[in-house]
């Protein structure tokens, strides 16, 4: 199997209508280090993308047997990526090194991630780089209250880009930033005016790149080095924004058995995948010297990777959950029970 880090990264740019996705992409493409990117867009909008490799796709979806919306195959996306890949392989287009995918403003990103992770051809050539969500300072709070899509886009994002912050008072941006941090404590929140942004922070520092994975993990690692017993402040009740959505961190003292963990997580996602909006963790796995990183969105789990070393002196496993209407204590109890079964093995 090809090392996961050597696959071409796909960056999914999502965000509600008018939140500045295309402006951001245009700025990104002007950066010299991104001239080797191809772009797939859902539609050619009012703001055009000025780039050589832009392709449009039609929105066709195939709902899988499970009936869960996050396990929907986006056949349009699948076909577009495979077609683009064939052109790349046959030399009809330049050999792009990364793919940027712009979703519609009304898109739930989960089916896109499911498609990237489940198609045999795609997953042998590409990996997910990061999900980037643009959030409009002026309208974000209202949009997230009224519609589920902008909320979902923020919840599954690895980077949240706050746009148009020149149009509102500073306090409003601070409040929005705090709200976003509570909604998704694992995401990097960046402000960008007219698309001006640190490209390296946005694209190049993803968790699967050797140079950045250590820093990236440390950023979302929830527990400070010397904090051993009080994790109350890592549990966020964010009912005001997402009604039943909450985020919390499970810290586990004992080393985890990888096999039991795999059985547990697949069983959990089978029955509650729709409600596990995000799961990210740094694990202390029995028999493995390096910390192991897991990263999942609903039913999709990306392949695990090793960090070179522990980011802090804390050797406990920490798993961050963003869930909809789920009981933290039961999750904790269930993980512990499965891990103990491994001791029988």
């Amino acid at each position: 199997m090809v090392a996961y880090s050597r696959l071409l990264p796909i960056f999914v740019v999502t965000g509600y209508l008018g939140s500045g996705k295309t402006t951001l992409i245009n700025k990104m493409l002007k950066h010299s280090s991104l001239r080797d990117a191809a772009v797939l867009v859902n539609e050619f909008g009012e703001v055009g993308i000025d780039h050589m490799l832009v392709q449009e796709m039609d929105e066709n979806t195939v709902l899988l047997q499970s009936g869960c919306i996050c396990c929907t195959i986006r056949s349009d996306l699948k076909d577009s990526i495979i077609e683009l890949n064939s052109k790349r392989e046959s030399g009809k287009i330049p050999p792009y090194k990364r793919l940027i995918l712009e979703t519609t403003g009304l898109a739930d990103p989960s089916p896109i991630l499911f498609t990237l992770n489940s198609d045999t051809v795609i997953k042998h050539h590409y990996r997910l780089g990061a999900v980037i969500a643009t959030v409009d300072s002026v309208n974000a709070a209202t949009q997230m209250r009224r519609h589920k899509e902008p909320l979902k886009q923020v919840l599954v994002a690895d980077r949240v880009v706050i746009t148009k912050h020149d149009l509102v008072k500073k306090e409003k941006v601070v409040a929005l930033r705090e709200k976003l941090r509570k909604l998704n404590p694992t995401a990097d929140i960046i402000e960008a005016l007219h698309g001006d942004i640190d490209i390296n922070r946005l694209l190049r520092a993803d968790i699967y790149e050797k140079k950045s994975k250590q820093r990236e993990t440390k950023r979302w690692l929830p527990v400070p080095e010397d904090d051993s017993n009080d994790d109350e402040h890592h549990s966020h009740d964010i009912n005001r924004h997402g009604k039943t959505i909450s985020s919390f961190t499970i810290s586990y003292e004992r080393s985890l058995d990888w096999t039991a963990f795999g059985i547990w997580l697949t069983m959990l996602l089978n029955s509650h995948g729709e409600n596990v909006l995000r799961v990210k963790g740094i694990l202390n796995v029995k028999g493995v010297d390096a910390p192991v990183i897991i990263n999942g969105v609903q039913h999709v789990v990306h392949p695990p990777i090793h960090l070179n070393s522990w980011p802090t002196n804390d050797r406990r496993s920490h798993i961050v959950f963003i869930v909809d209407n789920m009981d933290r204590e039961l999750i904790e109890r269930s993980l512990s029970a499965f891990n103990k079964l491994a001791e029988l093995g």
């Binding site: 199997m1 090392a3 109890r333």
Partner: protein, 110 residues
């Protein structure tokens, strides 16, 4: 695709590739993967016990899951598919957060 049985074989699931996909020194050979597979079945069968079901290996590439009470069985290529198969042969949902289920597996003496 398996030339004998016609089953489509995808790449290994993330639960079966060790803990560092693509460059894993911990599970580099097929023997280790096979031993890991049997260990997985052992742990899995503790989980399946409260449901009256059992899982077996099929040629190192598939799992067979059986309902011991009703005799129904199904074939699954990986763990996510196995849970779907289990629900199919039991004709009910399985839930690792169910208090009844957790009480059952917590009773197993370590």
């Amino acid at each position: 695709m398996c030339a004998l049985c016609g089953i489509l074989i995808d790449g290994p699931h993330w639960t079966e590739t060790g803990t560092n996909v693509g460059n894993n020194q911990y599970m580099s050979d097929s023997r280790s993967l096979y031993l890991e597979r049997f260990y997985r079945l052992k742990v899995l069968n503790y989980v399946l016990k409260p449901y009256g079901a059992v899982a077996e290996d099929w040629s190192g590439g598939q799992y067979i899951v059986r309902n011991l009470a009703g005799g129904a069985s199904d074939v699954a290529p990986n763990l996510p598919a196995l849970w779907k198969s289990l629900e199919f042969i039991l004709n009910r949902r399985v839930d690792p957060l169910s208090k009844e289920f957790l009480s059952e597996i917590e009773k197993i003496p370590v």
